[in-house]
Point group: C2
Chain length 283, copies 2
């Protein structure tokens, strides 16, 4: 496994790797969710690349850029135990050198949900992912469904801009109590950690109602809202039943839907989601 | 020479072409300026691709999209006489299908000069060029210096987004009287066509002053303004002496500069430019 910092070194290594290459873009602080993406890439591709980069452009000034967990040695040890060929750990000014001024923006699907709460977040994501795609030139790129809107946005961007690759979305990996794995789970106190499983319970209660034949978007939303309201440590930011491709909020009867939510547990902001029906994210 | 319309067909052809591939993006209505780019690509690359696409996203509603000259048969005949391997002539909805919503934006260098007069123009250019780069996956991409700001913008975008290719800028090709070749020259009446050489005369008068030791930006600007003012059919939109990398307007003594202008001759808007000093465009 080669570990490189500069773009030039990365290109030199990638130029020698057999194709197809699968890329797993990460912000580090790796957990089983990331590793499941690495394993999916290794299964399908002849080479696997991983990026470890806490991308300042996707954090608002009020957000947790400085506090975001970093563990380069631990991350590299985890990746060395997997079938990873190359890891890019660029310094910030290798990605955003002085004079940097180009942005990739997706319009409609970035507006609701996370985009409504974090206005420049997705511009930072799409710009850095474009740079990663050009740096690794992968044939497949792997993202976790836990960041469902990100998956929709990246798929939209890849299609709109003719990126010559396939965006693969893999299932959310969960703790035994259902909490979606996230690097930010480290912020939770023990009591908050127990409370945090309420997101999963809210999603599964709505999904069960759907399984039982409930098709009214407002009723599904209500199940989630009520479940979250019963947890005193949880403060709901939004609860959504949306079109899985356009992310437009749905009313009335639904066939396919993305159920999603953002909830503060103490000071930690958590997101989670669940797909009901047959329609894939961004599909 | 293969001529294809769909992205899928283009990818199938490009996948078989020996590399490096040189791409010449055009809006058709080809003249010797375009053909000089094709020849430069053929000299350096094992394969040459050309796109013919009048890009609606780079025209404002008030501009000449509908009137822009189109001559597909003539263009293909000209390209068939050169060492061109593949030509992409996509219909508009192949490039901008329903639901399209992703844009590439370069900030600072798009703001002055053409950008000040045509606010969304460069967003349309950078977005379509990104799509062309992803569609052809060229190692070299060729642009004419006649659109100097476009060259700076594309170079900035390619560097900022890590595009794995080299942007090559080739000299402006001119008519015997100095008029820069442009598809829009067809709009000129005979009297306007004679008047249109005033852009070249203005540039060369300023460049001669520079050669003679004149280094004051304001004096160089003044030479251009005066020359243009002497032509009754010319209406100056801007005259600029700018930094060739940042495109910021210069004052006081200059070593390298981009001299540029936009001038209406009758209803036709013409642009032209000249580099003095050693600094390349966008370099």
């Amino acid at each position: 496994m080669k570990v490189v910092e500069t773009l030039g070194d990365l290109r030199a290594v990638c130029g020698q790797l057999p194709r197809p290459l699968g890329l797993v873009p990460t912000m580090g602080a790796l957990h089983e969710g990331h590793l499941s993406l690495v394993r999916a890439a290794a299964e399908r591709c002849h080479s696997v690349g991983v990026s470890l980069f806490v991308n300042p452009a996707q954090f608002a000034p009020t957000e947790d850029l400085a506090a975001y967990p970093r563990d380069l040695d631990g991350d590299l040890a985890k990746l060395a135990a997997e079938a990873v060929d190359v890891v890019w750990t660029p310094p910030s000014d290798e990605v955003y050198p002085p004079g940097f001024q180009t942005w990739v923006e997706v319009e409609h699907v970035t507006r609701p949900l996370e985009g409504a709460q974090r206005p420049e977040h997705f511009r930072g994501v799409t710009t850095v992912v474009t740079k990663l795609f050009h740096a690794f030139e992968p044939q497949f790129a792997y993202f976790g469904q836990k960041d469902a809107q990100q998956c929709v946005v990246i798929r939209r961007m890849a299609a709109d801009l003719n990126f010559p690759l396939e965006v693969v979305v893999r299932p959310t990996v969960r703790e035994p109590d259902g909490l979606a794995m996230s690097s930010r789970n480290k912020y939770l106190s023990p009591a908050e950690r127990r409370a945090a499983s309420v997101l999963y319970r809210a999603l599964t209660r709505a999904a069960e109602a759907y399984q039982d034949g409930q098709r009214q978007a407002q009723a599904l939303r209500q199940r989630m809202v009520e479940t979250l309201a019963a947890e005193p440590l949880a403060e709901t930011q939004y609860v959504s039943v949306a079109n899985p491709a356009s992310l437009e909020e749905l009313d009335g009867p639904v066939e396919s839907a993305l159920l999603s939510m953002a909830v503060k547990v103490g000071k930690t902001r958590l997101i989670d989601n669940w797909l009901v029906g047959d329609r894939p994210l961004g599909g």
